[in-house]
C-alpha cells in the first residue's frame, strides 16, 4: 500500500499537476480563441529553457527563475499571436490550428538552435526525499510542484470569479459574439488569455525540468495528455482542466501499478492511456466531465 502511494500516487499527482497547468491554457485558448493550440507544449519548453538560462547566468535556483520564465514565455506567446494567429482570426479556425502546428515547429527549431539538443538539468545532485511517519517518502520537488499547483488553482478560481477581466473571459468563452455586442473588447480578452495560458505553461515547463530534465521535446511530448485533460475538464473551463490534468496524470501512473504481480499496462504504453481516455470521452461525453462547451 505504501509503495503504491510513494511510487505511483505521489508521482501521479506530480505529473497530473504539470498536465493541469498546461491544460488550463489549452482549455482557455480553445474556449476563447476557439482553436486547438498545437504549440502549447512548445510554449512550456520555451519557459523551461528561459529559466535554464536564468539559472545558468544568474546562479539562482530554478524556482526563483520562474518569473523570468513567465515573462519570456508571455512575450513569445503574444508575439506569435500578433504575427501568426491574429492575421487568420476572421478565417475558419482550422487555419489557425494549422498555423499553430507551424508555430510549434518554429519554436522547437529555435530552441534547438539556441540551446542545442542535449538534455539539461537545473541542478545536479540527488535530492533526499522527506520521510513522514517512517513510511511516506516524498521528494521535496514533488511537494513544491503539487503545492504550487494547488495555490495556482485557488488563485485562478478567485481571478475568474471576482475580477472584471476574469468574468469577461468567462463571458467570451460562453459566447464571443454576444460578448462583442455587450461591448467587451475581444482583443483585450485574447491578450489576457495568452498571458495566463503562457504563464501557466512556463511554470509547467519549469516543473518538468525540476522533476526530470529539460529537453527540446519536453512540451510536445505532453501535448496529447494535456489536450485530453482540457477535454476531460470541459472546454473553456480552466478549473475543469486542472481536475482533468490531475485525473490523466494519476491514471497514467496508476495504470502501471502491478496488481497480482502483473502490471495493468506496460509502462512503455503509458502515454496511450491519455489517448484512450480522451477518445472515450469525446465519443460518450463530448462536453467533458464538468459541462464545458462542445465546439
Amino acid at each position: 500500500m505504501m509503495d503504491f502511494i510513494n511510487y505511483y500516487f505521489i508521482p501521479g499527482l506530480t505529473l497530473g499537476s504539470i498536465y493541469a497547468l498546461g491544460a488550463v491554457g489549452i482549455s482557455m485558448i480553445f474556449g476563447i480563441l476557439r482553436f486547438a493550440h498545437f504549440a502549447h507544449g512548445d510554449l512550456m519548453t520555451v519557459g523551461a529553457y528561459a529559466a535554464l538560462t536564468a539559472v545558468w547566468t544568474l546562479g539562482i535556483p530554478a524556482l526563483a527563475a520562474i518569473p523570468i520564465g513567465i515573462v519570456f514565455t508571455c512575450a513569445v506567446a503574444l508575439f506569435t499571436d500578433r504575427f501568426f494567429y491574429k492575421p487568420l482570426r476572421d478565417l475558419p479556425t482550422i487555419y489557425t490550428v494549422i498555423a499553430s502546428f507551424g508555430v510549434a515547429l518554429i519554436l522547437r527549431s529555435l530552441i534547438q538552435l539556441v540551446w542545442g539538443t542535449e538534455s539539461q538539468v537545473y541542478e545536479t545532485g540527488f535530492q533526499k526525499p522527506i520521510i513522514l511517519f517512517d513510511v511516506l517518502r516524498i521528494a521535496t520537488r514533488h511537494i513544491q510542484i503539487i503545492a504550487a499547483t494547488f495555490v495556482i488553482a485557488i488563485l485562478l478560481h478567485l481571478f475568474l470569479t471576482y475580477t472584471r477581466t476574469g468574468k469577461s473571459m468567462r463571458a467570451v468563452a460562453d459566447d464571443p459574439a454576444l460578448a462583442s455586442i455587450a461591448g467587451l473588447d475581444p482583443e483585450k480578452i485574447v491578450r489576457w488569455t495568452w498571458i495566463i495560458g503562457a504563464s501557466l505553461a512556463a511554470i509547467a515547463g519549469i516543473f518538468v525540468g525540476l522533476d526530470t530534465d529539460v529537453h527540446t521535446n519536453l512540451g510536445w511530448n505532453m501535448l496529447l495528455p494535456m489536450f485530453a485533460a482540457a477535454l476531460l475538464g470541459g472546454i473553456g473551463r480552466p478549473l475543469g482542466a486542472i481536475a482533468g490534468g490531475l485525473i490523466i496524470g494519476m491514471a497514467e501512473e496508476i495504470c502501471t501499478f502491478p496488481v497480482f504481480g502483473e502490471e495493468l499496462i506496460s509502462p512503455s504504453y503509458k502515454s496511450a492511456v491519455a489517448f484512450v481516455m480522451m477518445v472515450g470521452l469525446l465519443l460518450f461525453r463530448p462536453q467533458g466531465l464538468f459541462k464545458g462547451r462542445v465546439l
Binding site: 480553445f30 482553436f35 486547438a36 498545437f38 504575427f83 501568426f84 492575421p87 487568420l88 478565417l91 475558419p92 479556425t93 482550422i94 487555419y95 490550428v97 494549422i98 498555423a99 502546428f101 507551424g102 508555430v103 515547429l105 518554429i106 522547437r108 527549431s109 529555435l110 534547438q112 538552435l113 542545442g116 501535448l223 496529447l224 489536450f227 477535454l231 506496460s266 512503455s268 504504453y269 502515454s271 496511450a272 491519455a274 489517448f275 480522451m278 477518445v279 469525446l282 465519443l283 463530448p286 465546439l295
Partner: protein, 313 residues
Amino acid sequence: MELAGLFFYLITFLTMAGIYAVLCLALNMQWGFGGLFNAGIAGFYAIGAYAAAIVTSAGSKSHVGGFDLPIIVGLVVAGIIAGLVGWAVARLCVRLKSDYLAIATIGIAEIIRLFIVNEEWLTNGSLGISHIPRPMEDWFVGKPAEIAFALFVWSLVLLTWFVAHRLYISPWGRVLRAIRDNEEAAESIGKDVQSFRTQTFVIGAIFMAVAGALSAHYFKYFSPDATEPILVTFLVWVMLIAGGSGNNKGAILGALVVWGIWSMTEILTSMLPDGMTTRSSYIRMLLIGLFLQFVLQRYRSGLLPERAPKLRI
C-alpha cells in the same frame, strides 16, 4: 560529368518528391475532398513502411518476418493494414469536429509509434529493419536502378492521381464536397455523412501506407526515426496548402515545389560556416515553419486553387 551528376540529383529529387506526392494526394482526399483533418499522417506512413518491409524482406533472426514475398504483395498488405487501422480510427473519430479529429489523429500516430518502438519481436524496435528489397533489383544495378525506381514511384503517383481524380469528379466526390461545405444540408438530403467520411479517410490512409511502403523500398532500411511527425506529417500539410487543397494537380505540384524548397534549404544550410552545420537541420525546420505561415497568410488557396465553387470550409 557535371550534367550527369545533375541528372542523377534530379532523379533522387523526383523519387522523393514522388513519394511525397502520393502522401499529398492521399491527404487531399481526406482534407481537400472530405474536410477531415489528419494530423497523424506519419502513423499511416509508418504502418505502410513496416508492413512492406516485413512482408518483402528476407529472413532475419531479430524479428518476425522474412517472408520474402513480391513487392506488390507488400504494397497490398500495407494498404490493407493501414485501411483497417484507418477504418477503426474513422469509425471512432470522423464525427468529431475538425480540431478534435486533429488531436485524435496525433494520438493515433503516437500509439503507432509506441507500438513500433516497443514491439521488437515484430519491428526490431528502434534498430529498425534493414535489407528491404527494391523492385526490379535483379534487372537493373547502379544508376539505371535509380531511374527504374523513380519511374516506379511516378507510375504509382499517376495511379494515385487517377484514383483521386476519378473520385473527385464522381457523384461520390460531389456528395463528399457537399458534406465538407455544409454538413447539415448534406444530411438533410439524406446522405449518410459518417459513412462518406469514413470511406474517404480509409482511402486516404491506404495511399499514405503505399507512400510509406515506397520509401521503405527506396531507403532499403526503415527505423522509427523516419516517422518523425514533423518531417512527414508537417511537410505534407505544407505541400497540400501550398499546392492548393481540393485540387489533385495542385497536390502534386505542391509536393514538387515544397520538396524543391526543402532540398534548397539543404543546399543553403550546407553553405553555413562549419560551427553551424550541426544545427543546419533546425534552421531548415525553422525556414519551412516560416514558409507555412507565409503561405497561410498570403496564398491560402494555393498555387492551383480548387476550381469548384467553395462555400465554406
